[in-house]
C-alpha cells in the first residue's frame, strides 16, 4: 500500500473513533427532540457528569486494590449509567415537565439554565482543574511499512467501536421490538393522540430522558478512558458537537444521529489531516450549513409538517 493510502486509513480510523462517541451523545438530543420537539441543552452536562462518575469509581476501585480490568469497567459502567440516568430523569422532572405545553422557547431557556447550573455545581463540588487517570487499556496493532507510514489502531479505539456498535444495536432492538419502544415511536409520531389512546406519555418522556442519559454516560466512560482527562467544561463542547451531529443527520432520527456523528468525526479528522488543523471546526460547521441549505431537515430527517 502506498504511503498516501496508509495515511488516509489512519485518519479514517481516528475520525470514526471520535464520530462514534459523537453519535452516542447525539442520540440523547435526537430522541428528546423526536418526542417532545425540545432541544435539551443540558444533555452535554449529563455526559460530563457520566465522565466524572466513571472517573471517581475507577479511581476508587484502583485505590482499593482491584486489578481485574473488566470488572472495574463493568462496575464503573453500571454506576455511571445509574447515576447519570437519575440526573437525566431529575432534570426532566424538575426543569422541563412543569413547562411542557408552554411556548417552545421557555423550556429551551430552562435547559440552558440547567446546563449552567450543572456545570457550576460540578466546578464547585469537584474543582475546576483537569483530573487525570493513568492509561487503562494500552497497546494496539500497527500495520503498514514503517519506512513509509505506520498505521496504528489501538485496543482502546477498537473497544470504543465495539461498545458503540453494541449500544446502538441494543437501542435499535429496544425501539423496534419492545413495548416501551413502540410507545416511544407512537409518541414521536403524535404525542397528543398517543396520550388520548391511553399511553402514559409522561412515563415515555421520562424514559426517553433516562435512555439518552444512559447513552451519554456510556460515552462519558468511553471517552474518559480514551483521553484519560476530565474537567467540568467538557460537556459544553461535546454537547455542541453532538447537537451538530444530530442536526446533520436529521434531528429526531436515530440512524441519522449515528450517521451525523460519524460524518462529523471523519470530516474533522480529514480536515486536520489535509489542511492546517486550525480549520477543523470551520470546515465541519461549513459542512453543516451546506447540508442544511440543501436538505433543511438533515440527511435522514423527515421534512417537518406543521401540525394543525
Amino acid at each position: 500500500m502506498s504511503e498516501t493510502l496508509l495515511y488516509l486509513i489512519q485518519q479514517l480510523i481516528n475520525g470514526l473513533t471520535i464520530g462514534s462517541t459523537y453519535a452516542l451523545i447525539a442520540i440523547g438530543y435526537t430522541m428528546v427532540y423526536g418526542i417532545i420537539g425540545m432541544i435539551n441543552f443540558a444533555h452535554g452536562e449529563v455526559y460530563m457528569i457520566g465522565s466524572y462518575i466513571s472517573f471517581i469509581v475507577i479511581a476508587g476501585l484502583l485505590g482499593m486494590g482491584m486489578v481485574s480490568l473488566p470488572l472495574i469497567l463493568f462496575i464503573a459502567l453500571v454506576i455511571a449509567v445509574l447515576i447519570a440516568s437519575t440526573y437525566g430523569w431529575t432534570v426532566e422532572r424538575v426543569a422541563y415537565r412543569p413547562l411542557r405545553g408552554t411556548n417552545r422557547l421557555i423550556p429551551l431557556i430552562s435547559a440552558i439554565g440547567m446546563s449552567i447550573f450543572l456545570q457550576n455545581y460540578v466546578v464547585l463540588s469537584q474543582g475546576s482543574r483537569d483530573v487525570a487517570l493513568p492509561p487503562m487499556i494500552s497497546g494496539g496493532w500497527t500495520f503498514g511499512d514503517p519506512s513509509l507510514f505506520e498505521v496504528s489502531f489501538s485496543y482502546m479505539q477498537l473497544f470504543i467501536w465495539v461498545a458503540t456498535f453494541i449500544t446502538m444495536l441494543g437501542l435499535t432492538l429496544f425501539i423496534s421490538r419492545s413495548r416501551m419502544g413502540r410507545a416511544c415511536r407512537a409518541c414521536s409520531e403524535d404525542l397528543g393522540m398517543t396520550n388520548l389512546l391511553g399511553v402514559d406519555t409522561n412515563r415515555v418522556i421520562a424514559m426517553t430522558f433516562i435512555i439518552g442519559a444512559a447513552l451519554a454516560a456510556i460515552a462519558g466512560l468511553l471517552l474518559s478512558l480514551y483521553y484519560g482527562v476530565v474537567n467540568p467544561f467538557i460537556g459544553f463542547m461535546a454537547g455542541l458537537k453532538a447537537f451538530t451531529a444530530a442536526v446533520l443527520g436529521g434531528i429526531g432520527s436515530i440512524p441519522g444521529a449515528v450517521l451525523g456523528g460519524l460524518i462529523l468525526g471523519v470530516t474533522e479528522a480529514l480536515t486536520a489531516a489535509y489542511f492546517p488543523s486550525e480549520y477543523k471546526d470551520v470546515v465541519a460547521f461549513s459542512l453543516l450549513i451546506l447540508i442544511l441549505l440543501f436538505r433543511p431537515s438533515g440527511l435522514l430527517g423527515k421534512p417537518e409538517v406543521e401540525k394543525v
Binding site: E3, Y7, Q10, Q11, N14, G15, T17, I18, V123, S128, R129, D130, A132, P134, P135, S138, T142, F149, E150, S152, S154, M156, L223, Y227, G228, V229, N231, F233, I234, M237, E268, A269, L270, A272, A273, P276, S277, E278, K280, D281
Partner: protein
C-alpha cells in the same frame, strides 16, 4: 425625641469618622486573575506571591504608616469577565492592582485601568502587545514572549538542532504569539518548520494532528500554549508511538502536566523564569510560604511578590499613593527585589529578564538543562 435624634446623629457621625479612619489605615491592593477555570493554578501562584508579600510588609509595619490589604477578584482567564472585574475594581475605589494573569484578559482590562488612573502591575502576562499602546499606568515584573520566544529558539538552534521541526499553538494571544516568535527566529537560522498549526483550546482529541506529525517525520515540536492541551498531545503521541521531543513555554510548566501526560511528560523541555525559590537570598521567604502549606515553586509566585515590592517601594520613596507619581517613580528608578534588580523601560516592561531551559520529569519535577 430631640435627644434621640441627637444621639442618632452623633452615632452617625462617629460611624462616618470610623469609616474614614478605616480607609486611611489600609491601602487596598486588587489582585485580579483566575481563581476558577482551567488555568486557576496559575492564579493561585500569583495569589500566593501577593499575599505573602502583603503579609511580610504588614509585619514590618506597612507602608507610610498604613497596612496593605489584598482584595481578590476572579476573572477566570476570560477577557469578558476581566473587563467586568476591572470595572468593579474601579468602582470599589481600588487604585493599585496586581494582575491580570492571562494576556488575553490583561489587555482589555489595562485599557480601563489606564483611563481611570489605576496602577497595574502584571506578574504573569507575557504578550508584548499589552505595553505597545504607550500606557502610563501599566507595568510588568515578568519577561515578554518577545524575549522568551527568541530564547527558546536559540536553544533549539544551538542545542536541539532538529531535522523536521513542527510548531503547534493554541490560537490564543499567548500561545500563538510565542509560536510566531519562535518560528521567525528559527527561520532566520535556516530551520524551516515543516508544520505551523493551531489547535482549539478545550479540544480532547489530537489523533489527527499526531498522525500528521508522524507522517511528516517530525522529531521536534515547539508548543505555544497551556498544559491541558499539551498534556493530552503528549499522552496521545506517546500512545501512538510518535518519536519526537516536545518543548513549551512556562504556560505548560506545572506539575499538572505530569498528572495528565504521566510518563509521556518525561523529557519535555520547558522555558521558565529562573527558579527564584532556589535563590539562597530568598530562603527565609520560601520557608514562610511553605510553613503556610503553600507551594513557592510556581513560576509566577516570585514575580507577583516583586510586583508588590516595587509598588510599596515606590509608595515609601514618594510618600504617597498617588498613582501618577508612583508610575513616574517606577519608570525612573531601579528596585531591589526578590527577583533581582528590576528597572523598567518607557513602555513599562522590564529592561532585562532571564529565562532558563528545564528538563521536565514524569513526577512533576524539573532540572535545569546544562
Amino acid at each position: 425625641m430631640k435627644k434621640f435624634t441627637r444621639t442618632l446623629l452623633s452615632v452617625g457621625t462617629a460611624l462616618c469618622l470610623y469609616g474614614a479612619a478605616a480607609q486611611a489605615d489600609t491601602i487596598k491592593i486588587g489582585l485580579a486573575g483566575p481563581a476558577t477555570g482551567p488555568v486557576a493554578q496559575y492564579g493561585d501562584m500569583q495569589k500566593i506571591g501577593v499575599l505573602a508579600a502583603i503579609e511580610q510588609i504588614n509585619k514590618a509595619g506597612g507602608v507610610n504608616g498604613m497596612l496593605l490589604e489584598g482584595v481578590i477578584y476572579d476573572d477566570a482567564c476570560d477577557p469578558k469577565q476581566a473587563v467586568a472585574v476591572a470595572n468593579k475594581i474601579v468602582n470599589d475605589g481600588i487604585l493599585h492592582v496586581v494582575g491580570h494573569l492571562c494576556s488575553s484578559s490583561t489587555e482589555p482590562a489595562s485599557d480601563i485601568y489606564e483611563e481611570e488612573g489605576v496602577l497595574m502591575i502584571t506578574a504573569a502576562s507575557t504578550s508584548p502587545s499589552i505595553t505597545e499602546k504607550g500606557y502610563q499606568m501599566i507595568f510588568r515584573t515578568i519577561g515578554l514572549d518577545s524575549m522568551q520566544g527568541p530564547f527558546a529558539a536559540q536553544y533549539i538552534i544551538n542545542s536541539v538542532k532538529p531535522k523536521n521541526m513542527a510548531i503547534i499553538h493554541d490560537k490564543q494571544q499567548y500561545g500563538e504569539g510565542l509560536a510566531t516568535a519562535v518560528k521567525n527566529e528559527v527561520e532566520k537560522a535556516g530551520i524551516k518548520p515543516v508544520m505551523f498549526e493551531g489547535v482549539t483550546p478545550g479540544d480532547k482529541d489530537f489523533s489527527a494532528l499526531i498522525a500528521k506529525l508522524k507522517r511528516n517525520n517530525v522529531d521536534f515540536v515547539y508548543y505555544g500554549g497551556y498544559h491541558p492541551e499539551l498534556g493530552l498531545i503528549l499522552r496521545q503521541a506517546n500512545a501512538k508511538g510518535l518519536d519526537a521531543r516536545f518543548m513549551g513555554p512556562e504556560g505548560v510548566g506545572n506539575p499538572d502536566i505530569s498528572k495528565i501526560a504521566g510518563e509521556a511528560s518525561e523529557g519535555l523541555l520547558v522555558t521558565l523564569p529562573q527558579s527564584f525559590e532556589k535563590d539562597p537570598a530568598n530562603q527565609a521567604l520560601v520557608k514562610a510560604i511553605t510553613d503556610k502549606g503553600e507551594d513557592p515553586s510556581g513560576p509566577f509566585v516570585f514575580p507577583a511578590y516583586s510586583a508588590i515590592e516595587v509598588m510599596t517601594a515606590a509608595m515609601t520613596a514618594t510618600g504617597t499613593t498617588d498613582t501618577e507619581k508612583l508610575a513616574d517613580y517606577i519608570r525612573a528608578n531601579t528596585f531591589k527585589t526578590t527577583t533581582g534588580e528590576l528597572s523598567f523601560n518607557e513602555k513599562g516592561d522590564l529592561k532585562e529578564f532571564s529565562f532558563v531551559v528545564y528538563d521536565w520529569h514524569a513526577d512533576g519535577t524539573k532540572t535545569p538543562v546544562q
